[in-house]
Structures are given as structure tokens and as C-alpha cells.
């Protein structure tokens, strides 16, 4: 068993365990922290796949900005735990059954339809150089210039939308 394979299985175990921990935690703060672990593990996967820029973006944007926003809102609302309420009796078993079905379908497709057994290219010293990131930047600012600009508009609209949704109008109580 090569080092790559061992690394993959250990990281995959951590990622799946963190995702399950997020699902099962009763406290929303714990869920958010489990999700941070999951995002950090996926960032390491990106490094293994030779995508250092995406890995760093994942850490700063997902594990950093987005999860801090989540934690901030959880603590702002004081909504760590929900009051117990009545749930549909068949909902949970049905959800688990459907999830098992989804995994089974994915496994079937992976086992039966994969054309070639392609191996992951291990990143070399060249992968983690400035040259590679320059290629990404060139593609982003030439072939993908329009989507890139649209993304900036999307972010602006999201910012304005978030402010409009939460702003307190004059004379409003609360």
C-alpha cells in the first residue's frame, strides 16, 4: 500500500467522520466546528490533487469566512438547540432509506460505468510553483473574464440583499 493510498484513506475517514459528526450533533455550534474539520480535510485533498490555489481559497473562504459567519449567526440568535417538537414518525427512516438508495445508485454507476481506471496524478514540485497559479490566473482573466465579472456582480447583489433583509426600518419595533 503506497503512502498516497494510506493518506487518502486516513483523510477520507476524517472527512466522513466529521460529516457524520455534523449530522448527529445536537448543538449547532458543534455541528459548525465539525464542518470546519471537514472543509479543512477537503482542502488537504485539493493539495493532494495538485490544486494549491483552490485549497487556499477553500481554507480562507469556506473554513474561514463562511463558517465564522455561521458561528456568528448561531451565537447571535442563541439558537444552539431547538425545543423538542413533534416530527413525522416515518420521516427519519424514510430519509435514511432514500440516502442508502442514493449511495447504492452512485456505487452501481461507479462500479459498472467507469470506462477507464484513471489514476490521480501526484503533484510534483512544478505543481506548487507560481507558474501554475499564473496559468490559472491567465485562464480566469481571459477565457473566463465574463463569468468572473458576473461573479463580482453576484457578490455585490448578495451584499446589498443581506443588508436589505436585516436592516431595521424607521419606527419598526425590535
Amino acid at each position: 500500500m503506497s503512502v498516497d493510498l494510506i493518506l487518502f484513506f486516513v483523510l477520507a475517514l476524517v472527512a466522513v467522520a466529521a460529516a457524520i459528526g455534523m449530522l448527529l450533533s445536537q448543538n449547532a455550534v458543534y455541528s459548525a466546528l465539525f464542518l470546519v474539520i471537514n472543509f479543512a480535510t477537503v482542502a488537504v485533498f485539493y493539495l493532494l490533487l495538485g490544486a494549491p490555489f483552490i485549497a487556499m481559497a477553500q481554507i480562507t473562504v469556506y473554513a474561514g469566512a463562511i463558517m465564522v459567519l455561521f458561528l456568528f449567526v448561531i451565537m447571535l440568535l442563541g439558537a444552539e438547540k431547538l425545543a423538542p417538537g413533534k416530527v413525522l414518525p416515518y420521516q427519519r427512516p424514510l430519509a435514511i432509506g432514500l440516502a442508502v438508495l442514493l449511495v447504492a445508485e452512485a456505487a452501481y454507476l461507479l462500479l459498472s460505468r467507469v470506462q477507464s481506471v484513471a489514476a490521480i496524478v501526484t503533484p510534483t514540485v512544478e505543481t506548487n510553483t507560481v507558474e501554475e497559479i499564473r496559468r490559472l490566473g491567465m485562464a480566469l482573466f481571459s477565457d473566463y473574464l465574463l463569468p468572473f465579472e458576473v461573479t463580482s456582480v453576484v457578490l455585490l447583489v448578495a451584499m446589498v440583499g443581506a443588508i436589505v433583509l436585516t436592516i431595521r426600518e424607521k419606527g419598526e419595533q425590535g
Binding site: S2, F8, A12, V16, A19, I20, M22, L23, S31, A32, L35, N38, F39, F45, L48, L49, G50, A51, I54, A57, Q58, V61, Y62, A65, I66, L69, F70, V73, I74, L77, A79, L82, G85, V87, Q91, A95, I96, A99, L102, V103, A106, L110, V117, A119, I120, V121, T122, R135, L136, A139, L140, T151, V154, L155, A158, G161, A162, L165, T166, G174
Partner: protein
């Protein structure tokens, strides 16, 4: 050597866990986190394919997905805060004002 299939399988498992979270949990914040988990699983598949085909397009798509996810989180959390202000709860079962 790690076969590409392993990465796709991991991505599928993480996606399913996210979908399960959306179905099972009642806390709107945790449902939202599960959606993020699903986006992340899709990103992992994109980067794995970008690696096997040695093409940068996969990575660029992931970059856009991350940007859009950031925008989505900002608006979604603002919505959750607004809902909490009017209902004092973020239990999705209580959001049934439109129910006939």
C-alpha cells in the same frame, strides 16, 4: 497510486451525508450547513476530474462555486435572521404560515 474512482466515491458519500442532513434535521442552520457540505462534495469531484484530465477548467469552476456559495451564505443567513426575528425560532417545522 490512488484511482480516481476513490475520490468520486468519497464525493458521493459526502454528498449523500449532506442530503441526509437536509432531510433529517429540523434546525434551519444545520440544513444550511448540509447544503454547504453537498456543494463541497461536488467541488471535490470537479477537482478530481481536473486532475485526471490535467485541465484547469475544473479548478476554475470550483473557484466560481466557492464565490457563489459565499454569496448564497450571506443571503441565506440574512433570511434566517429575518425569520428568527418574526418567529423566535428557526425550526423549519414551524414555518408553515402558507400551509392551507
Amino acid at each position: 497510486m490512488v484511482p480516481q474512482t476513490y475520490y468520486i466515491a468519497l464525493s458521493a458519500v459526502l454528498f449523500t451525508l449532506g442530503a441526509l442532513g437536509v432531510l433529517v434535521r429540523r434546525n434551519a442552520l444545520i440544513i444550511f450547513m448540509s447544503v454547504e457540505l453537498m456543494l463541497n462534495a461536488a467541488n471535490l469531484a470537479f477537482v478530481a476530474f481536473a486532475n485526471t484530465y490535467q485541465h484547469l477548467n475544473g479548478q476554475i469552476i470550483v473557484f466560481f462555486v466557492i464565490a457563489v456559495a459565499a454569496a448564497e451564505v450571506a443571503v441565506g443567513l440574512a433570511l434566517i435572521v429575518a425569520i428568527f426575528k418574526t418567529r423566535q425560532s428557526i425550526d423549519v417545522d414551524t414555518m408553515s404560515s402558507l400551509k392551507g
